[in-house]
């Protein structure tokens, strides 16, 4: 995580003492990182701002429980992610689209139904263009919510399988299966762009 706080133990002590300037320092030094994460998960500016604000309120109320086992930014990041997940659950649709069409298929003996062509070099060249990141972002957003969420939490927000499992209330095995399926589905979506197989 890029945001850094100089002399964090001293900041935490000042926060616990209720020093107004310490709260402002905390908000100003960490909210940019937190808002980026919330926007990515929620894709809605108002919801993202609400998630960040609610996360800070929650954090301020539970400062006494912050044990300094992680950095304060990591602690806040977890709270924001959980706030964002609550927003996502509240707007979750019961009929999630299937991901099956984006997963590889196999014949009876376990071989791939059709040979995969290596498009990684074409994609490497495309990465030099600024618009490629935006294209990849759009493709990630095409994934069904339960897969998109796990992929963002792991590959973009750099959370561990165990942290994601705890936030989602599922086993680490479920997280690993969803992450692998999400990456495979995204791979197929990118193949359609870079593999010349539209």
């Amino acid at each position: 995580m890029s945001a850094t706080i100089v002399d964090e133990p001293s900041l935490v002590a000042r926060l616990r003492a209720g020093e107004e300037s310490a709260f402002e320092q905390l908000v100003r030094s960490t909210s940019g990182r937190l808002l980026a994460a919330a926007r990515r998960l929620l894709r809605n500016e108002e919801d993202a701002r609400d998630a960040v604000q609610n996360a800070f309120v929650r954090a301020f109320q539970s400062l006494s429980r912050f044990r300094q086992e992680s950095s304060i930014l990591t602690w806040l990041h977890r709270i924001v992610i959980n706030e964002a997940l609550m927003h996502l659950r509240s707007r979750a649709k019961s009929d999630q689209p299937s991901i099956d069409d984006l997963l590889p298929t196999f014949i009876a003996d376990g071989h791939q139904t059709r040979d995969t062509v290596d498009w990684s070099e074409t994609a490497d060249q495309a990465l030099e263009r600024a618009e490629t990141a935006e294209l990849v972002r759009r493709k990630i957003d095409e994934l069904p919510e339960i897969y998109r969420t796990v992929l963002l939490m792991h590959d973009i927000e750099e959370m561990s399988h165990a942290e994601i499992a705890e936030s989602l209330g599922v086993s680490t095995n479920v997280v690993k299966v969803r992450l692998h399926r999400a990456r495979q589905a995204l791979r197929t979506l990118l193949e359609r762009e870079f593999g010349g197989q539209k």
């Binding site: 402002e24 980026a36 604000q53 376990g110 990465l127 990141a133 990849v136 973009i156 990456r183 791979r187």
Partner: protein, 74 residues
């Protein structure tokens, strides 16, 4: 191992989470299957491309900063 098993274990392989015997079986298949090598390379490329979409930090509107600080006093 066949293609289905190799693709199923791909993430564990890349994470270094396969046991030595499974890893050896996995690599034996890769040595003879161009299609699975292509799948592995494009899977890795997919993850690399994801990383390019990371936005570490954004500018926070001043009104949000003020709202957060005000909410502490409520």
């Amino acid at each position: 191992m066949n293609c289905r098993e190799v693709i199923g274990f791909l993430m564990e392989y890349l994470d270094g989470a396969l046991a030595a015997a499974e890893r050896s079986e996995f690599e034996k298949h890769l040595a003879v299957c161009i299609s699975c090598v292509a799948y592995l390379r494009t899977y890795e490329q997919t993850v690399r491309m994801e990383v390019t979409t990371r936005i570490e930090e954004v500018t926070v509107p001043e009104e949000l900063v003020r709202a957060i600080l005000a909410s502490r006093k409520m």
